[in-house]
């Protein structure tokens, strides 16, 4: 029996168990009504935890008001199924609540495009308060402070009044949510989220539309939370504004952080434990009743202090420590032994050069970082961009790759004006770049990074990915194959499943170059690739750079401080000093110019 078949059968078995066991156990008296309630509540929290995990754990955003989204779903269900309202079947309530949650989450996510970290946290708190103090109390929406009565689902004449019966439904819905979450993490969606969380510029350089994915994370999360609300409302029966207070959102944060940001199993387990906590604590004695939140909060403080990544990360770290130490960390020079096979032949521009930068000027505050710089990189050459510290090289690089908008000037890639294109669009147009701080998602493995790098080649829609249909898995298989080939080309098979942050600097740099090349961009931009490399590795790098030009037929633009490397490998040089191009041409031509020497040794450049 093959893997796929086995997985499908397991799934079926679980689904059947979930649907059949609770009602049966309930009727047999092995599952009390109260226990059914508590487990049901745990399942609702688990769904909400998965929702928050999507936003905080996967996408690295922050939301301190997520329980309010659950409230949105709950009240929506109330309106749909409530006897005084629409009185529609429960089945309809679930998707509608999901959509309501998604819509409100979209609104909350909009500020997330402009704000980060602390400021975003503040906005989400404000949101939670606003909902609690105002919207949830509005008579029109929620029947005022009195609350709304939400009935249990009804099929024909059978109503799921028993907790045991309703638990089956709740667990089943949780299972579905779990599966969708799995699909997120197994496809380009999850990888894109992780990339955004790790570093937005790096994500953009791999073609990820950062803004779109941030909103998508919020929307999906909102949908999950809405569903959790649809599960919760009939469980408790009556809901009001005070059911969705600000501190419940905080409890959710505790659950997700303690369970482990980014770990599906961790947060679900933590949610169930937390739901059980009041009962568990009472085992210690009467005095402990009502102390569940106290204990939980104390737990959060200590957990955050010792393991900011939660228990999932603590366990992961312990596992990693036990595993054999990473080879080559320190001893030996990592080699970039070969290059990944190109995915497409090189495109020779019909007119002009691969890259044309014209008269770019960049001003920050009162400083002119780049002053009327122009450079052209002909097809199939290696162009070195050199100059002393602070000359504006990285700024110019950022202008070319789209991370900095110039006040003046233009950038043309393969004849096409890309001056106003966002970084991820430029990546799609054929521009690949590395970063000084190593442009990889450090928590992901080497393979996952190589998959991430192929983001723009993952040609299936988000919808297909969520449900796991259509071309999704076929495309994923192709991407994986290519990733495996790239790993083999780099000679890093033994590091396939190693998180990148465990590799040495030189090894990370090699993986990064591999990632840039795996989609065969026309223009390969490297930002100080030899920095931090031992001299032997730098020589190897020179060989590979020539290979990129000769074997792959691509074009390279690199910033470098390692002058022997530059003089060895570059066809042409552009020298930048105090923001201006002071020399350009072949290496020999440039080496002779007096001002270049002056610039490096520190004399002021003659005006």
């Amino acid at each position: 029996m093959d893997e796929v078949m086995r997985r499908r059968l397991t799934l079926l078995a679980v689904a059947v168990a979930v649907l059949a066991l609770p009602p049966v156990l309930g009727r047999m008296g092995l599952l009390s009504s109260e226990q059914g309630f508590v487990l049901g509540r745990g399942a609702c929290f688990a769904a909400a935890a998965l929702a928050l995990n999507m936003v905080m754990g996967y996408a690295g955003q922050i939301s301190l008001g997520h329980f309010s989204l659950l409230g949105v779903g709950a009240f929506t269900t109330g309106i749909i199924t409530g006897a005084d309202h629409l009185a529609l079947p429960y089945v309809i309530a679930i998707p509608v609540s999901a959509m309501a949650g998604a819509a409100v989450a979209f609104l909350v996510g909009l500020p997330a495009l402009r704000l980060r970290g602390l400021y975003l946290a503040i906005v989400t708190i404000g949101f939670a308060y606003a909902m609690q103090a105002s919207v949830f109390r509005a008579r029109a929406i929620t029947g005022g402070s009195g609350g709304v009565e939400v009935p249990r689902p009804l099929i024909n004449t059978f109503q799921f009044l028993r907790n045991g019966d309703y638990l089956a439904i709740v667990l089943f819905v949780l299972l579905v949510v779990w599966l969708v979450d799995v699909n997120v993490t197994r496809t380009r969606l999850g990888r894109a989220f992780q990339a955004v969380k790790a570093s937005e510029p790096v994500a953009a350089s791999f073609g990820v539309d950062v803004a779109r994915h941030k909103l998508l994370a919020f929307v999906l999360s909102g949908a999950f939370a809405g569903i959790a609300g649809a599960m919760y409302a009939p469980l408790v029966g009556t809901i009001s504004a005070s059911s969705f207070t600000y501190n419940l959102s905080l409890v959710l944060v505790i659950v997700v952080v303690i369970g482990g940001l980014g770990s599906r199993a961790g947060v679900v387990a933590a949610a169930f434990i937390f739901a059980e906590l009041p009962e568990l604590l009472e085992l210690f004695g009467e005095g402990f009743r009502g102390t569940d939140q106290v204990v939980g909060a104390l737990g959060l403080m200590l957990a955050v202090r010792n393991h900011p990544g939660g228990f999932a990360q603590a366990m992961r770290e312990r596992r990693e420590k036990k595993a054999a130490p990473v080879e080559g960390s320190g001893a030996g020079i990592p080699q970039l032994s070969a290059l990944p096979r190109p995915t497409a032949a090189s495109v020779v521009p019909v007119h002009g050069d691969v890259l044309e930068v014209s008269n770019v000027t960049v001003r920050f505050g009162g400083i002119t970082a780049v002053d009327g710089a122009s450079l052209s990189v002909p097809h199939n050459t290696i162009m070195g961009l050199i100059g002393p510290n602070g000359a504006g090289k990285t700024t110019l690089f950022n202008v070319v790759s789209g991370f900095v908008t110039p006040q003046d000037g233009s950038v043309k890639l393969l004849g096409r004006d890309v001056t106003t294109l966002a970084p991820h669009a430029r990546a799609a147009a054929g521009m690949g770049r590395t970063f000084q701080g190593i442009g990889l998602a450090k928590d992901l493995t080497v393979t996952e990074n190589l998959l991430l790098a192929q983001h723009r080649l993952a040609e299936y829609s988000a919808g297909e990915a969520l449900v796991g249909i259509g071309r999704t898995w076929a495309v994923e298989r192709t991407l994986r194959e290519r990733a495996r080939e790239a790993v083999a080309a780099l000679g890093f098979e033994r590091f396939e499943e190693t998180p990148v942050r465990l590799l040495s600097h030189g090894q990370q740099r090699i993986v990064e170059i591999g990632c840039v090349l795996v989609t065969s961009p026309e223009l390969v931009m490297l930002d100080e690739p030899s920095a931090g490399m031992a001299p032997g590795a730098a020589e190897d790098l020179a060989l590979r750079l020539r290979d990129i030009r000769d074997e792959l037929g691509r074009t390279v633009l690199l910033i470098e401080h390692n002058l022997p490397l530059v003089l060895d490998v570059c066809d042409q040089l552009t020298v930048l000093a105090t923001g201006r191009v002071i020399a350009s041409g072949t290496v020999d031509e440039v080496a002779r110019q007096a001002d270049v020497v002056d610039a490096y040794l520190g004399e002021a450049v003659p005006a």
Partner: protein, 370 residues
């Protein structure tokens, strides 16, 4: 490598290995700083200069090796306590407290001093205001509104307020206009001349060489060359910096103008005055004698003016640093131009101007020569 007697070594850095996270930037850095001298650390970007400084300051821990200050093992001493030991730091980018006034900045710099001896603070402060008139004028000005050069002066003054030995200065010329760099040079030279031990990290080789006594060159995390500035070899320097053939010739010019020969006290024969030195060989460069103003300095008025200033201010402290000689030995200056380019454009000018200078500065020369 220069020998150093144990007794007069103030800072001893031995085989230091350090870095961030998985990256190791320093792979065994070794050098020593003697009392009263200015030790320079040079190197291209990425060589490890600022990490070295941070290890000395205590903000980056060393993973291996030792750092000893006056015999005390610094590894156990956290950054904030190194000040009370006597180490002061002028960090990269100056990092003055932008929201506070000049006087408040100095007060904070004297935090440990004021705790020990408040009365002394007043006199130290007065002394500093004398030495830095620009700061005296701007006592109540908000530090963040001052120019780069003024902030640099403030940063140095703030470090001096703690009466330090040594003072660590990290790339002070970074981001400063040429005028400000000139001011900075004057400031640092004055500090060095007052006998304060200094460790100077610089990427700007031309500027740095004017200030230091000993040159240490870092390349990819290791000190590859240590030499007193007088015995500096242009070739070695270029190789040590790792700048290859591109800049080798330029380095020779700079080095040639700065290095001091062993027998500097003896006046050089005047016959060299007319040497065109076109296509001068490396040997000529090695024999570079004076810390004379380079041809660039001669052609640039500002630099020339500064030389005059320093010549006037500088006491005849050490034989190596007789700046008067700068003006007085134009012949040697011209002769030391090891590069074609240097000499082609400027040798004629140099000889002419230098000869004039020699005439006017003769008096200073005789007075200043040690």
């Amino acid at each position: 490598m220069t020998a150093s007697t144990a007794s007069d070594v103030l800072l001893d850095v031995d085989g230091v290995v350090a870095g961030f996270g998985p990256t190791t930037v320093l792979h065994g850095v070794t050098f020593a700083v003697r009392k009263g001298e200015v030790a320079g650390i040079f190197g291209l970007n990425g060589a490890g200069k600022s990490v070295t400084m941070k290890v000395l300051a205590g903000t980056v821990p060393a993973r291996d090796g030792a750092v000893r200050f006056d015999g005390v093992d610094l590894m156990k001493v956290p950054a904030e306590e190194r000040v009370s030991l006597g180490m002061a730091h002028v960090p990269q980018g100056r990092q003055v407290f932008g929201a506070l006034t000049v006087e408040e900045n100095l007060r904070l710099g004297a935090y440990t001093l004021r705790k020990r001896d408040r009365a002394r603070y007043a006199s130290v402060l007065d002394g500093l205001y004398d030495r830095f008139p620009i700061l005296a004028e701007r006592r109540t000005q908000i530090a963040g509104t001052m120019s780069g050069g003024q902030q640099a002066a403030l940063a140095v003054a703030r470090a001096l307020v703690a009466d330090p030995k040594p003072i660590l200065v990290d790339e002070p010329s970074a981001g400063l206009s040429p005028m400000a760099v000139q001011e900075l040079f004057v400031t640092l030279r004055a500090v060095a001349d007052s006998g304060v031990t200094m460790v100077l990290v610089e990427q700007n080789v031309t500027f740095g060489l004017k200030v230091v006594d000993t040159v240490n060159v870092l390349q990819t995390g290791v000190v590859v060359m240590t030499s007193p500035v007088g015995e500096l070899d242009a070739d070695e320097m270029a190789k040590a910096l790792g700048i290859g053939r591109l800049l080798h010739q330029g380095v020779s010019a700079v080095v040639g103008s700065r290095a001091v020969a062993v027998d500097e006290v003896e006046p050089r024969p005047a016959k060299r005055a007319t040497t065109r030195s076109t296509g001068a060989t490396k040997t000529t460069a090695k024999k570079a004698v004076t810390k004379a103003v380079t041809k660039k300095a001669v052609t640039k008025k500002a630099a020339a003016a500064a030389t005059t200033k320093t010549a006037a201010k500088k006491p005849a402290a050490s034989t190596k640093k007789v700046t008067a000689k700068k003006a007085a030995a134009p012949e040697r200056a011209a002769a030391k131009k090891a590069t074609k380019k240097a000499t082609k454009t400027a040798s004629k000018k140099a000889t002419n101007k230098a000869t004039k200078k020699a005439a006017t500065k003769k008096a200073t020369n005789t007075r200043g020569a040690a």
